[in-house]
Symmetry: C2
Subunit: 332 residues, 2 copies
């Protein structure tokens, strides 16, 4: 019999359809060949992106010149623009505001064909550090309430460019899904006086069946009520609200665990497309008893169809216990 499972943070229900019981090989498709053509993110083409806002590894060289190991530029086709004032207006019963925000691209490596599954732990740590640096820098702009760091890998996940990159969007409002997490976590705390994420980490480590991998500071788990097959979360074991407030050695530890997780997903699912997002506390609430930053990784293996659109329910053919087992068994 299928099982309905409820996400303990936001209360979202998921249908785990064990009977369909899909294995990683059921999802495997050919790795897509490189699309080729001109790449604006490759070294030598720095002039084709908007002027960079940050770069690592360039030893005293000029901005937008060669020698960088990681480079951040505004998105050439931004969803939101940085110039202007927030201007809230009504239109009859409707509400709107100017599309103020920032939209940046983090070019993770000069190597076009690098992926998060192929790069070294050191390189991965550099990417994680860049998220922190951009969060801290952009949080100075008081028009922004939230910054969402995310990555689209592969065509199915919405990546329009192949060269390895992440993105961030700074927003003038806290986005709905983060508000739902904050509200759900606050409710839980009010009742239990404990952080729901801390409780999840504790129960997952005790049960073990949904643990993909762990190290002294972090754990990667398939969540109890995953929206998609092989959805994987990475959480710090220690209670920290904001991603920017980790200790220096924790970034290195995170790089080790995140890198291993990406390798396991890549091998189990044949390099399939994925999205990930960083959920951290709102910019002006860096220390909350009830909120705990984490990454959510979503392999793109199923389609969002009418039922999901209309209900907010998800149908998942792979129980997370099975997914975690497959991922643990991958030979690295």
């Amino acid at each position: 019999m299928p099982e309905l499972r409820k996400d303990p943070i936001v209360g979202r229900w998921v249908i785990i359809s064990k009977e369909r019981g899909k294995r990683p090989s059921d999802f495997c498709v050919e790795r897509t060949a490189s699309r080729g053509g001109f790449c604006p993110f490759c070294p030598g083409n720095e002039h084709t992106t908007p002027p960079e806002v940050m770069a690592y590894g360039r030893d005293g060289g000029r901005p937008d010149g060669p020698g960088w190991t990681l480079r951040v530029t505004p998105n050439k086709f931004p969803a939101l623009v940085i110039e202007g004032n927030l201007d809230k207006q009504g239109e009859g019963l409707y509400d709107k505001m100017n599309g103020i925000g920032a939209h940046e691209v983090i070019i993770e490596s000069p190597q076009h064909n690098d992926t998060l599954a192929s790069i070294s732990v050191k390189k991965f740590a550099e990417v994680l550090q860049s998220y922190r640096d951009r969060l801290i820098d952009l949080s100075r702009d008081t028009r922004f309430k939230y910054i969402l760091v995310f990555k689209n890998f592969g065509e199915k996940a919405g990546a329009s460019l192949e060269h390895t990159h992440s993105q961030l969007i700074a927003l003038p409002v806290v986005p709905e899904l983060v508000v739902e997490e904050l509200n759900g976590a606050r409710e839980y705390f009010r009742y239990k006086e404990r952080c729901v994420f801390c409780d999840i980490v504790r129960q997952e480590l005790m049960q073990g069946s949904r643990v993909v991998t762990e190290n002294p500071h972090f754990v990667a788990v398939t969540p109890y009520a995953p929206r998609s097959p092989f959805e994987t979360w990475i959480l710090p074991k220690r209670h920290v609200t904001s991603y920017v407030d980790m200790w220096p050695d924790e970034y290195w530890s995170l790089a080790q665990l995140f890198s291993e997780t990406m390798k396991r997903l890549d091998l189990a699912l044949c390099g399939c497309s994925y999205n990930f997002v960083l959920h951290t506390g709102p910019l002006r609430d860096r220390e909350l008893d009830y909120y705990h930053w984490h990454f959510e990784i979503m392999p793109k293996l199923t389609l969002i169809a009418g039922f999901e659109w209309g209900s907010g329910f998800f149908i998942n053919p792979t129980p997370p216990e099975d997914a975690a087992k497959y991922l643990r068994e991958v030979q690295l």
Copy 2:
């Protein structure tokens, strides 16, 4: 400058990125050729589906025999199963219940290649009538709290079979997105003592810029804060909570307007994939001052990427005023 718009019912924000200003032709792709092969929904193959629960047009013939014009059967691969009891259980901090429900397929026509854009108004009215009949029949099962009628058309929308069909899933809980609509509409009513959907219909008819088409009983509009380009809603002008509580002549009027809307979308977007859902009141709340049934049609023109997954925000490159204008200008 892009614009942030807020949905007045659920409070969801959408980024309308006018600069990207996509026209229907930017989305047009080749109509996919028929996939061919064996079709379990074609006449003569009735024995390959689970036994039918309802059929129209068969004049005294035997069930699962020939002669039908519309046929409803349980889904062969159901997301939820009808046998058993609801059994709620905890698992540490997590909650689950048995996957009790119904999952049915409405085979809209015996003609394999019919589409909702090609069939007659009379045929369309038969499809709309079947939704009503199944909603009424299934609502007798007190284990169910909600029934979601939906349609996936085309591969990108998740249709695994080509033969024209809709689906419904009866659920033991009211789904999250409907709860959000109910809560938002209740809040609005508390403040204004008016139904937000009635206010939307009134403002849209007055402004006109987002109206696709209207008739004495219904209106088709592109919503103010659409999640996807060319998203279109169909609403009754009269306040009715439940789809099953329309007057008989209103189903005919709905068929006319819905049929015209599907033809306009089909021609403007070259037969693109789409989903639609019917949002009606919960089964045991058929008369609410604040809730108003409607259809939401979502053409599948953009991908859900990391930003949308992580934020619940949507980025839409086509302002709804432009979309409505294109749809009005289609020559039928």
